[in-house]
């Protein structure tokens, strides 16, 4: 590999990129747009959800509990009703998203240590579910039940139970922002390089390039390098926005986050290169990219829990770089794990990069036939 020729390719790519306004807009526009769209949709700090209240006990204690719940600002009292059935009807009509039910035997339950109230939730909206879970943490001011604390062997009964309608399985929303780094990378990075070689072929540049001493490796690596920088730039934008707008935690080391992102970027770029050596036109390259993109979104665990998928789908998902990246990034950002502990997925990505890059360089011929 000749360093000067490699650098010439890198400089050329960057110069072309700097004149390609649509691609430039895509580099910054896609992460910002996606993050804001996805981000606000999953915002956990909900305020002022319309709530309906049924206080069948109507004692000083029950009124205090309801007032405490309202004081969190998560809900605002929109309706009152007499029976839980009325609340359910209101939820079904969409008049309210949350119903609070205090049963007539509130005081008795409080003494027995049984659940003292019920929060009914419109579970078709997962963000409301999260809000309800928050509400259920409302402490009871009386310490009395602690005298009757259950034995350590059985889990303590929640004092306020949450009943979720329509969607019993809760999707953990905070998973989305770290995962979004992966989704955005998969969307943009594969496309950049998938088009890179095909475009030169379409414009006739390739016939000139292959008649020069430039080697396949120099060309391939030279095409990938500028986009690694761009990918890391995108990662920074998403991280900065994720942290500042949505308070997404980075519990592990920032270096690990970037290393994981770097691996995914490389994986996607080399996959794009391979597509590029196969596709006959830019349009075909885009079609092939979507062929990768859709399964990545659906199977990687970004949208649906990995564990819940059938075995065949899981096997397929193991081939996709995004699956491994999601495990890495969620591990590092949310659980504070180090890459070392997650070496399985690191290795999987490294192997993926080596195979794809090798195949792309091997498939690329400095011949027209």
């Amino acid at each position: 590999m000749n360093g000067r020729r490699l650098w010439a390719i890198v400089v050329k790519e960057l110069r072309q990129l700097s004149r390609d306004r649509i691609t430039l807009a895509m580099i910054l526009g896609i992460p910002i747009m996606q993050l804001v769209l996805f981000g606000y949709a999953i915002n956990l700090n909900l305020r002022g959800l319309d709530a309906g209240i049924v206080d069948q006990a109507n004692t000083a204690g029950s009124r205090a509990l309801v007032m405490d719940m309202l004081a969190t600002d998560v809900v605002s009292a929109a309706r009152t009703a007499n029976t839980p059935q009325q609340l359910m009807a209101m939820i079904r009509r969409g008049d309210i998203s949350i119903g609070i039910v205090v049963p007539p035997d509130f005081e008795r339950r409080r003494i027995d240590g049984r659940p003292v109230a019920q929060v009914l939730v419109d579970g078709s909206d997962t963000t409301v579910q999260s809000a309800a879970a928050q509400l259920a943490q409302t402490p009871l001011d009386s310490a009395a039940p602690d005298l009757r604390a259950p034995p350590a062997s059985t889990p303590p009964t929640p004092r306020i139970s949450v009943v979720s309608f329509y969607n019993p399985q809760r999707v953990s929303a905070i998973n989305i922002v770290p995962g979004l780094i992966g989704v955005i990378m998969t969307m943009t990075m594969v496309l950049f390089t998938a088009i890179a070689i095909v475009r030169e072929r379409e414009r006739g540049n390739m016939e000139l390039l292959i008649a020069t001493p430039l080697t396949s490796t120099e060309l391939m690596v030279g095409k990938v390098l500028p986009y690694i920088v761009i990918g890391l730039l995108q990662t920074s934008v998403i991280l900065a926005l994720g942290v500042s707008l949505f308070a997404v935690p980075i519990r592990g080391s920032v270096l690990d986050v970037y290393l994981a992102a770097g691996l995914l970027i490389l994986a996607n770029l080399s996959l794009g290169l391979l597509i590029s050596t196969r596709a006959q036109s830019q349009f075909q390259a885009m079609q092939m990219t979507f062929f990768i993109f859709l399964p990545s979104i659906l199977l990687s665990g970004f949208m649906f829990p990995f564990a819940g998928m059938p075995k065949a789908a899981q096997w397929l998902a193991e081939i996709l770089p995004l699956t491994h990246f999601l495990r890495l990034i969620r591990g590092v950002m949310l659980r504070g794990a180090s890459l070392w502990e997650l070496w399985h997925d690191v290795l999987a990505l490294v192997v993926f990069v080596a195979v794809m890059m090798g195949a792309a360089i091997g498939r690329f011929r400095k011949r027209l036939d």
Binding site: R5, K12, R15, R203, K366
Partner: protein, 322 residues
């Protein structure tokens, strides 16, 4: 006219390339002398581009041997790439890079020594009149400017051998003349040039020339030698009604083709048909007999006559007659 020292830049024998059932190049034997401008003349689809691509190692021949600058192709194609320049038929530089950026890029890729790059690029910008256009994006330039830039990029590493595939097909006549000036300057400086074209006036400028038709090399030699072979076979026929005269002359025995040129007709006869003077009298007499008096006189052959004589239906007719 191979030079006295007999130096040959390109040697090919039995060169063949098939695309499925189509034989694009059919057993072509070729010798290109060094430091010459060698032309490939042929209609579109005659196999000119395919031959050039095989010679510079971009296409693998289906059969045949190639030796370029002493290197066996395609086996040693990679080594050859340092010594050749290739100007593709379609503009192949980067339209979204400026003139200087394209030159910079090619200089690095072609391995022009770093210390000399700047001086070499300045020299090319001066030679090829890009002084005011250095910062202009290649895509926004005119056809003639683009071709000039493509040539400058193709010669940036001072190659010994330059392949040009229909370099001037999209260029106005004046730019074409300038362009050919540059080609002769390069040949004078010791470069061997192989230029394909379908334009007769360009072919005429070449030192030596090969005519390709349907993948077959049907004639080669200097333009003078090629036209010389048609001595006594080309005539001008003046007529008051050239359209009608044309229909009558086609049927005269020995006539290969008749083409209208302005108000007269240009007639090509088969080899060994009749002596020139006899043919003139013969045509005049035949048409007078048909009530269409004409005046016929012999004229020197040009490359178009050569082209007609060796390609297409006229050539088949001549073969059948032989």
């Amino acid at each position: 006219m191979i030079p006295a020292d007999g130096e040959v830049a390109i040697r090919a024998s039995g060169l063949t390339r098939r695309f499925g059932d189509l034989v694009a190049v059919d057993r072509v034997d070729l010798q290109v002398p060094a430091r010459h401008v060698y032309g490939f003349l042929g209609p579109n689809g005659s196999g000119k581009s395919t031959t050039i691509r095989m010679l510079c190692g971009l296409l693998t021949p289906s059969a045949g041997e190639i030796e370029v600058l002493g290197l066996r192709i395609p086996a040693e194609a990679e080594a050859l790439r340092r010594h050749i320049g290739y100007m593709t038929q379609k503009f192949s530089l980067f339209e979204d890079l400026s003139v200087r950026e394209n030159l910079d890029f090619l200089a690095a890729i072609q391995g022009v020594p770093r210390a000399r790059t700047r001086a070499r690029i300045d020299q090319l910008i001066e030679q090829y009149h890009f002084g005011d256009l250095q910062k202009q994006l290649a895509g926004t330039m005119s056809g003639g400017q683009k071709q000039r830039l493509a040539l400058a990029c193709a010669v940036i590493h001072e190659p010994e051998l330059l392949f040009l595939d229909e370099p001037t097909s999209a260029v106005d006549p004046e730019s074409r003349r300038d362009f050919w000036e540059k080609l002769f300057e390069l040949a004078d400086a010791g470069t061997t040039l192989l230029v394909s074209t379908h334009l007769m006036d360009e072919a005429e400028r070449c030192h030596r020339l090969a005519i390709l038709d349907h993948g077959v090399l049907v004639a080669d030699g200097t333009p003078q030698a090629l036209t010389g072979r048609l001595q006594g076979r080309t005539f001008i026929v003046e007529s008051a009604d050239p359209r009608r005269a044309q229909r009558l002359i086609v049927d005269v025995p020995g006539v290969l083709s008749v083409a209208q040129v302005g108000n007269s007709l240009r007639v090509l006869t088969a080899a060994g048909a009749a002596a020139a003077a006899d043919m003139c009298r013969h045509i005049d007499a035949t048409l007078a007999g048909a009530g269409q008096p004409v005046h016929t006189h012999a004229t020197p052959a040009n490359l178009e006559d050569v082209f007609v004589a060796v390609t297409g239906p006229a050539a088949e007719q001549a073969e059948r007659a032989a």
